[in-house]
Amino acid sequence: MSASETLAFGGPAEAGEISSRQGAPSGGGRLTLAAFLHNRRTMSGVGIVALMGLFCFIGPVLYHTNQVTVNLAIINQPPGPGHPLGTDEYGIDVLGRLMVGGQSSLELGFAVGIASTVLGALYGALSGVVGGVGDGILMRIIDTLLAVPLFILLIIVASMFSLSLSVIILILAVLSWPGVARLVRGQVLALRNREFAQAATSMGSTRWGVLFRHMIPNTLGICIVTATFGIADAIYALSALSFLGIGPPPPFTDWGTMLTDGVNNLFNGYWWQVYPPMFALVLVVLAFRQIGDALNDIVSGGQTGRVFARRRRRFGWVPMSTRYE
């Protein structure tokens, strides 16, 4: 057992509710720090996110631009000296705007992804541990929330509060936690009857002890996967909201707002207002989804990274190639 394996994020995780219904081989996957660090796909994703984070948060320190006042003298200028990526329809430097917009997109993504996962995981684990009638009621509440159309909540919350980034974070977190709760509950139901949970109960551990000591740590793997996808989805959702015109007033901006302004000017031929935010947005969303996808492969144990192949070989068992031919 190597030292890195003791740094495990989580224990043995069963495959999710859907895949266990498929009769797929479950379990086996273990989300360790080593598995995370040695996976080509997770690390390339983390690298892209880190670079984007540096660009957005350190960039403005090195590259000073005016991101607040409108300057009509220099609107819609193509890339050139002074403005490496040109200016937008308000005469604001696009490169600097990309950094400021990225800040809000990334902040929102992380906040929503983490908040909804924590909330959903606690609720789902609680529901799974309680079981019986309580579980039934808690899950019908989830069903109800999932069936309420998104727009109603959006419009109502948007008209009740003056919109700021934190309010949008709140709205998106409220909208996205029920899905997580359902997933974690399925996981807990699968784990509840496993030997280690029964052993803990037989040794006098209370329901709550089992919940916090065993269930939540054991679902951490799948929670991290969900949070990663949640970050990507939140950044994507923010861009859709910006397109519909729901968002904080200027000078607030995010990549979605920039894109919306950009596509409105697309037919004027101002390509520099479209492609930079497009590139940034797609790259970051793609990076988070890639991390999530790779982590999911590790957790579900279906397609293991290098670490697993090596470890298995050490035990004298080489996995049969899943390749078809």
Binding site: I18, S19, R21, Q22, G23, A24, P25, R140, I141, D143, T144, L145, L146, A147, V148, P149, F151, I152, L153, I155, I156, S159, M160, A232, Y236, S239, A240, F243, L244, G256, L259, T260, V263, L266, F267, V274, M278, L281, V282, V285, L286, R289, Q290, D293, S300, G302, Q303, M320, T322, R323, Y324, E325
Partner: protein, 318 residues
């Protein structure tokens, strides 16, 4: 099985009722009055009072809810404040259009997604796998309004192949189909955005299926590669797709507001969005009801069809 269905149906009705209660409360929490939204800011207090009395808006909330539910049980969805038309008429006009647009794009995504997913599984962990997954994920990650505008710029403005938007005042599904050149782009945009869903699920199932013993047996007894892929792998990889199809039913009913507004396609999404902006409660409640029913029906259908297609799954009544 019968008992299972009865229990699920009872739960479904409870969920739909919960959705209605929640929506009703939420709608009335919204600041601003309906009368002001409909009559305008210059309406006199007397006219506002008449409006409130006419639509029962001055009654207590539980009373209003009771009246609404009673009418609903008689098939009366109420009258839209904004359009002055029965809500059922509005929904009946727009629902088939959305079913056409989103149903068609789901089918296109399915037809592209499942075979490429299996192809990826066969070439699992090779360069092709990464390239195909990368393509679908990029299209999935780009906002749909961006894809729509770029395609319009390329195919309509540059090459004049398709119509960018629908002509105003389209009425029925037949009207939509006669303008099929305008239908191509919205269907295409919506489908390339969701191919990743289908291809990733069928890929991961196909990887498991390919490693299973029955596929090895089929191959060992001499079945040709193509036959094994279609007869064993494809059929088993379709199982998770059924779940996704069931879960996408509410999306088909709810419409796609962004695509609809770009392509001038008056569907449910646009109706819902405009009535939300205009405090048009009857339309929003009616739409919520339809979407809620579609959600629970989709879940139920996915589970039941899954059980019928996969004999390994048996529902035990408790």
């Amino acid at each position: 099985m019968t008992w299972y269905l009865v229990r699920r149906l009872a739960q479904a009705i409870a969920v739909v009722f919960g959705v209605m209660v929640l929506t009703f409360i939420l709608l009335h929490m919204e600041p601003g009055s309906v009368a002001r939204a409909v009559l305008g800011l210059k309406a006199t207090p007397a006219r506002v009072a008449i409006f409130d009395h006419l639509y029962g808006l001055n009654k207590p909330l539980y009373d209003q809810f009771g009246v609404y539910m009673w009418q609903l049980l008689h098939g009366n969805f109420g009258i839209s404040y904004q359009y002055q038309q029965p809500v059922s008429t509005l929904i009946a006009q727009r629902l088939p259009r959305d079913a056409l647009l989103l149903g068609l794009s789901t089918v296109v995504a399915l037809v592209i997604g499942v075979p490429t997913g299996i192809y990826q599984a066969v070439h699992h962990n090779e360069l092709v796998d990464d390239a195909v997954a990368g393509t679908w994920f990029t299209l999935y990650s780009a906002p749909d309004f961006l894809e729509a505008f770029l395609l319009i710029a390329l195919l309509c403005v540059e090459f004049h192949i398709f119509q960018p938007t629908f002509p105003g005042g389209i009425s029925s599904v037949v009207g939509v189909l006669t303008d099929w050149r305008a239908l191509v782009l919205p269907v295409f945009v919506l489908s390339i955005n969701s191919v990743a869903n289908f291809s990733q699920y069928s890929r991961s199932t196909a990887i498991t299926v390919l490693a299973s013993d029955y596929v090895k047996v089929a191959r060992a007894k001499g079945l040709p590669r193509q036959l094994v892929l279609t007869r064993h792998v494809l059929r088993n990889s379709l199982l998770p797709v059924i779940t996704i199809l069931g879960l996408s039913l509410p999306g088909i009913v709810a419409g796609a507001v962004i695509a609809e507004s770009i392509f001038n396609y008056p569907g449910m999404g646009l109706l819902f969005w405009q009535s939300a902006l205009a405090h048009d409660y009857p339309v929003m409640l009616g739409g919520t009801l339809v979407i809620g029913i579609a959600t629970v029906t989709g879940n139920l259908l996915a589970d039941v069809v899954y059980g019928v297609l996969d004999p390994r799954i048996r529902y035990v009544s408790q």
